[in-house]
Subunit: 390 residues, 2 copies
């Protein structure tokens, strides 16, 4: 096990009706906030009314910024930074999924920073401060509600980049599984793939032994595998959504990565796809890439892929040699994601292969840096994986 | 899944050599502290020297209070409270295992309280404040390093009682598995039983479904089952101690109880044993009681005990009916604890049954309150379990 520091002080408020508590929780931290959200869906569902009523009741003044899109953009975050500065706002309440939370994180680090907030994403500056964030989660997926990571897309250069800092971990996250009932099936499926991907990125590690966290990840994966089909068939199944929502948070709050070194190459390659094609949901891109990444790297540690197959997918140990078992495990993952209605090939999503070379070059900064830790990938490796996944 | 709030802001600093970081971590919180510890063993191992050197280097003044015993006592905590008040101390560094940490928790809540600190243990007063605590853990067992619980024994009345409050969760916990190398085998075994018991108390719940946390607990139990024999055979096995130490913290920081209602009857009955016989280690008492508690209650939810047997102990499903499988699972637990060198019967520990009626009466406050949530036990039930366990 590797040495680690684990510090996740996000207060999780979980369960039916908990979004009603947003006023009192926010008032503990600020009385003058930015209410940040995405589309009008939170108005249709009544969540917007419940949140704003709770804020007013608790004596919290709010300024609004809606309009966050999937793959949130730097431009909108810049507007948020401007509003916060103008209005003297010192807290952001993100009501939505990962895109809204990640947009809020960009605003949060941008407000106290004198330079261009993109400096943090391009490694030109280190984050040393941020205004605090609270969350009302509507989509179990990104895990941003308790993570110290945020992603943003710079539209002018089609670059999608990440920040990692303890300053952007939300102070509280309200998780009411009922809010997921209205998710379209495709988005529900994408959320489950995203959650599984966060666990898979951590599962494939060269740190050994990591027994406890292996078990935690395997349990999380099994929980999603069992419950994802249930919520697609029964969107109002509270129990199943509750399991998925709590797994989604724990999949990405760093707990399951303690003592391990995660891989993250698939995430980075995916960012090149949805950076250029923002209509591709992040998780949809991951579903297209992960099985091919696995088939490209499994020989690096066959035993780990055998463990994945037997423990997560219950592949019987007597079906053949290690390689057979490992490959069946990967097949089972791909079949499962297909069964949720997702494309597991880039071509199946209607995306051309015309810009693969550009993606591989951007991802590895023209072959000057590798991606991934389980196996270090150069530009040529990334290109091969993209072609395998086509 | 039940609604819950989960908020564990303890900063975990885990790994080889991490006790060297105690000076800088403490200095972030205080420059005038109480250094609280148990026996002279931390002086023999060199830990005392490393900690005090690190504190001095970081510019932290410390006053000392050693002498905490297994089953820490109110008297010593009262002395700690007096020292903190006299010296104007605003932080306690606990260097040791659960007893030292729990003693520190009593001091921490007592310092700012005008009345008798026992008021918190006898439910005469609510905890509304505490001075902060930091921990250097030497014994993976109690989980107190990141829990909001503390236990103390009042010697004059032989009462052992618990407090639960977010104010007593340590601010940081330094977990260096190397510090466990010098533990005597009996104490190592007790630690593993304690850790398993914290998971078992949460496992047997009437909240359904609780899939994710079932998996987390089962994974934690399997980790201890695999690694406990290793550290008994190889006390210097870092990897095995690392798995045990991290499991010990997660077993009791409330994560594994999220969405569940734990039982805790066995813990409460045990407190009556070690309250009267303080020479009995808490975990030793748990090992004597848990198998009998299980055999007394398993019919309440046979399926849960079947799941325990098949998932945790790999009991084959084809060995018989549900009852057979359930009972074999309980047998396996008892055999495992025996294999670690622990007595699983009260008589085997040389304790008489003469005061069982008194214990049952104290535990249930003369049959005016029940203990346990999975099955509610009255005075007569507690007496029967004690007799089964004799």
């Amino acid at each position: 096990m590797e040495n680690f520091i684990f510090h996740c002080p996000t207060k999780i408020i979980f369960g039916r009706g908990t979004d009603q508590m947003v006023g009192q929780e926010t008032a503990l931290l600020s009385r003058r906030i930015l209410l940040h959200y995405g589309s009008s869906s939170i108005k249709k569902t009544g969540l917007y009314d419940r949140v704003t009523t709770a804020l007013k009741t608790a004596g919290v003044s709010y300024f609004e910024l809606g309009g966050v899109k999937a793959n949130p953009t730097l431009d909108l975050a810049q507007e948020g930074i401007r509003i916060c500065r103008e209005k003297g706002i010192d807290f952001i309440l993100a009501v939505g999924g990962g895109s809204v939370i990640d947009s809020a994180k960009t605003i949060a680090v941008g407000v106290p920073y004198q330079g261009d907030v993109w400096d943090f994403y391009s490694n030109k500056a280190q984050i040393t401060n941020a205004i605090p964030i609270g969350v009302v989660l509507t989509i179990p997926a990104a895990g941003s509600e308790a993570s110290e990571r945020g992603v943003i897309t710079r539209e002018d250069s089609q670059l999608k980049r990440v920040i990692v800092s303890p300053f952007i971990r939300p102070r509280f996250a309200i998780l009411n599984p009922e809010l997921a009932y209205t998710l379209p099936p495709y988005q529900a499926a994408c959320g489950c793939v995203d959650i599984m991907s966060h666990m898979l990125e951590r599962y494939f590690t060269n740190a050994h032994p990591v027994e406890l966290t292996d078990h935690l990840i395997e349990g999380g994966l099994q929980t999603i595998i069992h419950n994802a089909p249930i919520v697609l068939a029964q969107p109002g199944n509270y129990d199943a959504w509750a399991e998925i929502m709590w797994t989604g948070t724990l999949a990405h709050n760093d707990l399951m990565g303690t003592g391990r070194i995660g891989d993250w190459a698939t995430h980075r390659i995916e960012h090149e796809i949805s950076g250029i094609y923002p209509e591709v949901a992040h998780a949809a891109g991951l579903a297209m890439l992960f099985p091919s990444w696995m088939r490209y790297v499994y020989q690096h540690d066959m035993k780990r892929f055998v463990q994945f197959a037997t423990r997560v997918w219950n592949v019987p140990e007597n079906i053949g040699n290690d390689e057979t078992i490992a490959l069946v495990g990967i097949d089972r993952l791909e079949e499962f994601w297909k069964s949720l209605g997702l494309a597991t090939r880039i071509s199946a999503a209607g995306i051309s292969n015309a810009r693969f070379e550009e993606m591989a070059a951007k991802c590895t900064e023209n072959d000057t840096r590798t991606q991934g830790n389980f196996v270090k990938l150069n530009q040529s490796d990334v290109l091969k994986i993209l072609m395998m996944a086509y």
